[in-house]
Symmetry: C2
Subunit: 76 residues, 2 copies
Amino acid sequence: MVTRGTPKPPSRQLADLLRAKIESGELAPGTPIPSIVALATEHQVATNTVQKALRILKDEGLITSVPGYGTFVAER
Amino acid sequence: MVTRGTPKPPSRQLADLLRAKIESGELAPGTPIPSIVALATEHQVATNTVQKALRILKDEGLITSVPGYGTFVAER
DNA sequence: GCCCATTTGTACGTATGTATG
DNA sequence: GCATACATACGTACAAATGGG
């Protein structure tokens, strides 16, 4: 759940949430992550915020994005 | 000069522009970079775009930001 | 080859939060 | 307390890439 009024901003909360799913294996390497719009709707945040969260995970090498196609869990 | 209609987005153009000034020594290590608002006004882009450009340089280790204080050219 | 829906990427303008001096 | 500056988020818009029909 993404909440406000906490020291941890929504973008980090969402990044942490997705990272946990990846590391737990719920999102396996090679599988697609829900689209940005889907994540924004699901977690009640702006698409920009989702982009920011995904950027964090990209910087960590956990995911890769293909424009016009989708975002996927990286092979480790 | 930051232009549109080119394959290189404004945020990258601005990042490249600032990087060149740093590497040429025009902006020496330890010296402050103009504020985000100042850069946005000067280059006619949104503050968000400036933030994006600065983020690129931060990722490259060329600058560091201190909230409420300013952004500075990194040492070395 | 040509539309078209989907998806990522970038940008805009604005608002608010937080830190510094 | 106040002014300045960075950080985050919102909603919106449009470009470019992809894939399916």
